[in-house]
């Protein structure tokens, strides 16, 4: 039995046997919530390594594409700096800083270029949230 299967089994017991046997409203709700939490953790454990690899590959592709879109000399320096930082750190904080830099440089970039850059970032965000929804949804 995998860890994920074990958690699913305990969750089923909480949902089907323990929860309904609890008379008072508050602890009964807690029993059902415990079942929900264990189901989600189980799903997360089952998908964790596949999702981590996909996240890393998507980030690499994003860095390559944004690097191309910003390789001219008119690219705003704060946006380039945020992209360099993201390439070093490869984390969600770095991605947030890049998005903030794009919004802050919107006027300098012009609407079309701002739209292209943010649109490319959003492709990555969409794939990432779809993976998280496989656990959360």
């Amino acid at each position: 039995m995998t860890d994920a299967d074990l958690l699913q089994r305990i969750a089923r017991m909480l949902r089907q046997d323990i929860g309904p046997a609890v008379g008072a409203e508050y602890p009964r709700t807690q029993a059902f919530m415990a079942a929900v939490v264990l189901e989600k953790v189980g799903r997360h454990l089952g998908l964790a390594s596949e999702h981590a690899a996909a996240e890393a590959a998507d980030l690499t592709a994003l860095l390559v594409d944004l690097g191309r879109l910003l390789e001219d000399e008119n690219a705003p320096a704060p946006v380039c700096a945020a992209l360099d930082s993201l390439a070093r750190m490869r984390d969600s904080a770095g991605l947030c800083r890049l998005i903030e830099a794009l919004y802050a440089a919107r006027a300098a970039l012009g609407e079309a270029r701002f739209g292209d850059l943010l649109g490319r970032v959003r492709q990555t965000l969409r794939r990432s949230i779809d993976r998280r929804m496989a656990v959360a949804g």
Partner: protein, 346 residues
């Protein structure tokens, strides 16, 4: 001594009420029950019986206690709720009558307020039974009309005359939307949740598109079934005064129009037909519903929901709460972010 168990709480409540009701004799607290509603404050219902002038008396009461781990953290203030209820008591809006607020934590281990237990039921719109309840009420027609009329009353009451200006009037123009964005940013920061790039994108969009408001009214902030007490097919009390502000009434209207608040039905808040809501609300208030502004506020609600769930799951993660409903909300964060991404067109 623990004051979390009902058997420990009852005598303390009785002693407190005895000190507040000097003419009452033989006070007894009965049928005390903690109910699983609300995310910020514990809610306890009980019956108080006593004798006064030789006559037996009975009153249903509701006690809300702030254990200090409210979902809204520093933005939650039980005393503020009490003040709002005191102000609203003299208005036509149906609300529970507030009796006492107590900030002394020695009495029940935390600040609390005691208010009237208004007759009525408050079915959750998310469960099968609740959905059936609202579907049947929608078919009868009286409750949907009461839902809209009560919101119109809320938006047209004279908040200055009621003394509600202490809630703070937002700056002109886009001041209301910007103040809300700033408030939810604060809560997100307090939650210490890891950075979320979709949320950063969402906030960037919200700041760039903040609308001006046409008027200033009292705004409930969470006007929907589940926060409204219902008795004999009408709204007997508007509950959950935690998110109220002075601001744009379209903020409440957007919440009513949102499909967040209905499950498997085109009826707004599982209850009201959209066309009837527009017609009745506009006739009762004299306001025109601005759907474009409502769409903006719906996106703002995505930010607010993300802030709620980040705060809630953070309270559990840091051991400030043992309520497993809060633990579950860690998975509500991606759900609202996914919705926000769709709102922004991706």
């Amino acid at each position: 001594m623990s004051v979390d168990r009902t058997e420990d709480l009852s005598p303390r409540i009785r002693d407190y009420l005895a000190s507040r009701m000097p003419h009452a004799r033989e006070l007894a607290v009965g049928q005390i029950e903690r109910i699983a509603v609300g995310w910020s404050h514990e809610t306890w219902l009980f019956d108080l019986t006593w004798r006064e002038g030789g006559e037996p008396r009975r009153q249903g009461l509701c006690l809300r206690r702030d254990p200090g781990n409210a979902l809204l953290r520093h933005l939650s203030d039980l005393e503020m709720q009490y003040r709002v209820l005191v102000c609203l008591d003299s208005t036509p809006l149906p609300t529970p009558r507030p009796y006492w607020f107590e900030r002394d934590t020695v009495i029940l281990g935390a600040p609390f307020l005691v208010m009237e237990r208004v007759p009525g039921v408050c079915p959750s719109p998310w469960g099968r039974e609740g959905r059936a309840f609202y579907a049947a009420a929608a078919a009868r027609g009286k409750l949907p009309a009461s839902f809209t009329a009560t919101l119109a009353t809320l938006h047209t009451l004279d908040w200055r005359a009621a003394g509600l200006d202490f809630l703070g009037v937002p700056a002109a123009g886009a001041g209301f939307a910007r103040r809300e964005i700033a408030k939810w940013r604060e809560l997100i920061a307090a939650s210490e949740h890891p950075p979320e790039p979709i949320l950063t994108d969402l906030i960037g969009w919200l700041e760039a598109n903040a609308p001006s408001r046409a008027r200033t009214t009292l705004v409930h902030g969470a006007y929907r079934t589940g926060n409204l007490l219902i008795h004999e097919d009408r709204i007997s009390a508007v509950l959950d005064w935690e998110l109220e502000v002075l601001g744009d009434p379209m903020y409440d209207v957007a919440y009513v129009l949102s499909d967040l608040n209905r499950e498997g039905t085109p009826l707004l808040s599982n209850l009201v037909e959209r066309d009837a809501f527009f017609l009745d609300y506009e006739a009762a208030t004299g306001f025109t519903i601005d759907e474009e502004v409502c769409r903006y506020y719906n996106v703002l609600y995505a930010m607010r929901s993300a802030a709620f769930w980040m705060s809630a799951s953070g309270l559990y993660a840091t051991g400030q709460s043992d309520d497993l409903r809060l633990a579950r909300t860690a998975w509500s964060v991606p759900v609202v972010l996914e919705r926000a991404a769709r709102d922004l067109g991706y």
